[in-house]
Every structure is written in C-alpha cells, then in structure tokens.
C-alpha cells in the first residue's frame, strides 16, 4: 500500500521519539554527575528509573514505527528520486538510525540487568530480573551503550542536517513528516 506521506500515528511517534531521545541524552550527562546512591544519597533514583523506563518504551515505540513504516509505505520523495546517491544516503541513514537506537537501548538494558539494580516499568510493572550482579558484564554492556549512543548522536546530526537541507530547498520532502 502506498501513500503520499507518513501516517499520523507514525508522525506523532517520530516526534515523540525525537524529544525523548534528546531528553535522554541531556539527562544522561547530568545524572551521572550526581552522587553515588546510598541509603542517604537518593538523588540518582528518579533520573535513573526514568532513563530506563524511557529507553525500554522507545524500543516498543520504534517497533510500532517500523511496522507502520513497512506496512504503509509512503511513495518515494519526488526530489530524491532522480539523485541516486541522496536516496542511498537517506536509506542508509534510516537503517543505521533504527539499528543504533535498538543497540543503544538494548545494551543499556543489559548493562542494568547485570548491575544488580532492578527495573520497575513506569513504577507499576516489576520486570523479571533475569540477570545477575556481574561487574565485568555490566561494564562490557555499559561501554557498548556509551559508544553506540555517541554514534547515534553523530548520525542524528546527519539526519537533522538532511531535514534542514530539504527544508531550505523547500522541495516538499520534510513536509511528509510534518503533515
């Protein structure tokens, strides 16, 4: 099934994910500067739980977005149809974005699972703590989390610059995600 632009659900999910991802980047920078947790120092509890909840939620939202993207394929953007290298760049950027978001969130969850700290999804659903406390695995997944997230930030800048490029050309491409 082909349509001119993306569906309203896909558009809303895309922009909510955009806000959430930047929220997670900014929060991760300052929450790691808060004192280590203890019985007295509880500053990290809320930001870390929120960070994990949002990360897990993003995976579900991304899954729905991918389903909608594949189920209701929009028609190819007119302005890139005649420029193969731009089309290739756009496809590669999107595929890599999906892969990096999933890897970034997945490695963060795995790091948490081996840290010994439990996760209660949105303070309601206690997730099964199938991992165990293992410092080596925690650091391993934490390193993957760190570097895939830096790579994601770099790729997001390519994504944003692409959107700005099309907006400045006023060629209608950006409008497909801004209906």
């Amino acid at each position: 099934m082909q349509r001119q632009g993306f569906s309203s659900t896909a558009i809303i999910m895309h922009w909510l994910m955009a806000v959430t991802i930047f929220f997670l980047f900014i929060s991760s920078w300052w929450m790691l500067a808060l004192p280590f947790p203890s019985a007295d120092f509880k500053y990290r509890v809320l930001p870390f739980q929120l960070h994990k909840n949002l990360g897990i939620t993003i995976v579900f939202v991304l899954a729905i977005l991918l389903y909608l993207r594949l189920r209701y394929r929009p028609a190819q953007a007119a302005s890139t149809a005649d420029q193969p290298w731009l089309r290739w760049l756009a496809v590669a950027d999107h595929v890599l974005l999906y892969v990096l978001i999933l890897t970034c969130c997945g490695s963060g969850y795995l790091s948490s699972a081996y840290s010994g700290w439990g996760t209660t999804l949105w303070w309601v659903l206690e997730l099964p703590n199938w991992g165990y406390e293992d410092e080596r695995l925690n650091i391993f997944y934490s390193d993957i989390h760190l570097w895939t997230c830096w790579a994601l930030l770099a790729l997001l800048s390519v994504h944003v610059s692409g959107a700005a490029y099309h907006a400045f050309r006023n060629d209608g491409v950006v409008g497909r995600m801004l209906r």
Binding site: W30, L32, L34, P35, P37, S38, P47, A167, V174, L178
Partner: protein, 190 residues
Amino acid sequence: MSTATANSSGPGWASWLGVVAVIFGILQTAAHSNEWLTQKVIAPDTAAVQGIAPRCPEDELVEEGVSSAECELMVAKVRIMIASRPDWFRGFQMGLSTLGALVAFGSVFIGAALVQYRSWAPHLAVITFAGLLAIDAAGFAAAINTGPLLRATYLWNSLLWFFIHLVMTAGAVAGLRSAITGDHRQPVHS
C-alpha cells in the same frame, strides 16, 4: 494533522523557519524537561547539605571511570545548587520549565504548520515564538537573582536561547508581514 487549507509549495521563509522551529522546539522541550527533573531531584535539606560523607566504593569508581576526588565533588555539585539558589528559585524554575516544555513542544507543531504553510501558521508562530522569548527572559531574570555559582551555570544558556528565539520571532514577524502585503520578492538576476 489539521484539515485547514494547506499549500505544500509555501514560501521559502515558512519552510526554513518551520524546520528551525521544529529542531529547536525538540531541543528546548528536552532541555526544559531536564531542568524540571534537576530541580525535582535536588531537594532542599537533603543528604548533600547535612554533612553526610558520600559513598565512593572502589568498584563503582572503576565502573563509572570516576576518580575518588571526583566522587567527593559530586556532592559539592549538589551543594552548589542548594546553597546558591534562593528559597523561591526551585518552585519558580519548576513552574517555568513546565510552561517552557509545553510551549516548546507546541512550537514543534507550529513549525510543522509553517512547513505545510497553513493559513493560520504565521500568526500563531509570532505568538508562540514571542512566548518562548518571554520565558527565556523570565529565566534570565530569575538566574540574575541567584548566587554567582548558579549564575555561571544558567545565564549563558538563557542568553543563547533568548537570541535564538529573538531571531525566530523577527523571522516570523517579517514572514507574516510579507504574507499580509503579498510581498514575495524574487532573487535579482543581473
């Protein structure tokens, strides 16, 4: 999202201003939400200002790549926030950042409407960007009244956002005027 009249080939100014509004709207929604969370987490009269020694176990220092000195200074960072802010600042910042996050998120939709060039978008863009400008100004004024340690943290950020929204507001006003007067100038070819 709206069923209002859309013109996918709107003027260039609306397209670029729209995407700028979307990009900065997303970033500022995230920034304001983080400010709210920071103020929520750093509550007055908590462990950092009660003279309790921080916990800095060796394995966690290695895990996070933090030195022992840095671990102890993490408490100082929280103390700076609590010591340098007046009593009213926490509540004020939480209120302002809630409002800021809502208006900034709204500006994402206004930006989208500008790109699609809905007939009402230029008017609402002026109002929304001016609202963001007012929020930046209020944040700047509040930060001026904190201690020097917090002024160092807040003032430059506030100023940067103020000028971003100033330029966006000026762009929206100029676009609105050209839309009203029908002034769509074309590039001069010599």
